[in-house]
Amino acid sequence: MAYSNKVIDHYENPRNVGSFGKGEEGVATGMVGAPACGDVMKLQIKVNKDGVIEDAKFKTYGCGSAIASSSLVTEWVKGKTVDEAATIRNTQIAEELALPPVKIHCSILAEDAIKAAIADYRKKYGASDVPAEKKAAD
């Protein structure tokens, strides 16, 4: 199967591979997928006091497109507020990486991973996203 150059680049030079130390302040984790389906993504975000994602890390078991999708989203979420990160859509990921139709599920999984990490953040740290919600209402 022919991969796009961007997928190959992320696969060969993945950004932000790794995990944060256990118990590190502001860290939230999203783990999605299943080995049975051939993809598991773990996405971690580290959020500062202002609700901004200052760092992100991933580990992915899956095909090249799954690895590239998760590598890409770690780049995208960095510097965004939690609420801004929540607006990332799989279609943007698929478009950026030029994923073929059979690999669209990889981008969906990456979007799910962001949502899962954000849900974990909100569960752990409560409604620290109040300012952002106010912003959304404006």
Binding site: C37, G38, Y61, I108
Partner: protein, 403 residues
Amino acid sequence: MERKPIYLDYSATTPVDPRVAAKMIPWLTENFGNPASRSHAFGWEAEEAVENARAEVAKLVNCDPKEIIWTSGATESDNLALKGAAHFYKTKGKHLVTMKTEHKAVLDTMRELEREGFEVTYLDPEPNGLLDLAKLQAALRPDTIVVSIMLVNNEIGVIQPIAEIGEILRAKGIVFHVDAAQATGKVAIDLEKLKVDLMSFSAHKTYGPKGIGALYVRRRPRVRLEPQVHGGGHERGLRSGTLPTHQIVGMGEAFRLARLEMATENERIRMLRDKLLAGIQGMEEVYVNGDLEHRVPHNLNVSFNFVEGESLIMGVKELAVSSGSACTSASLEPSYVLRALGRNDELAHSSIRFTLGRFTTPEDIDFAVKLIRERIAKLREMSPLWEMYKDGVDLSTVQWAAH
């Protein structure tokens, strides 16, 4: 283009041996006659070449040349054998037996026969890939007419106990078909001794050209088939169609070379395969799929736990190998052969099939081992499953959010 990867996919296909190609060429250009032309020298010499090739194929498997029918390849041979025998013997019964690990050319033909009203039993292999003879015995019924079991499995390379199966089936008068596409030149085949009634062959797995194969049809005791391709009545009416002389000459020469060289060639390849195995066996969480004893020398099928098959293939792109997993063909199903062995999802998704051959060198294997070790380590560094395993998490107890 970068330099080509190292070819370790000889079970997918082999290059045509240059000696074979050289023999074929005159039959395309100068000696182009139709072997069925009886009225001039062009036809006569083509017919002689076809019969010489038929004799070479027969010699490799120790049968009468009259028992060899040319086809377009093993897929057609499987179709002719199974549909041909089922249709001919349908008044005797309507039950057929095969294994879940057969090639699709057999499995899909069986599905077609089911649509026509036949009943098929698909036997599970043992965890090592081999057929348990007691399970075969138990599956046979008074109305069983055909059993089809492959000699060498294309994914895991295991050798089925064909001699023993033949004894069981002959005693019951059941037609026995064997797909031997992956076996020629790798295991000795003696059809004088084996109680096999129909056997499928392919040229391109044995350094011959693509597009040519053969079906062995036993004469004593005689096995009858309904032809599936109708026309000019070639091949004793069993398979009509103008014979492709150059292809046939190529298959004959390829099988002649296999007969002469297989003993030494297989020892050389076995040493390389064992070198490859030794090189990767020291790694953690590596599993060989299929029995290592009852196995052709050129096959190694390995699962690298916690690394997904497609990214694995991509990670070792300097090697031309195939994934046991069918992910590469855009289906997300893991290998049905590995699933039939009872491998769990992670292992079934994490396999690579290495198949070595005539032109594989020790340097190729050294390069492959070094590359595999490096890339697997890198992919595992990236794998959340590897991390969980290292943290002592039992993955089978995890509640996955399936998608």
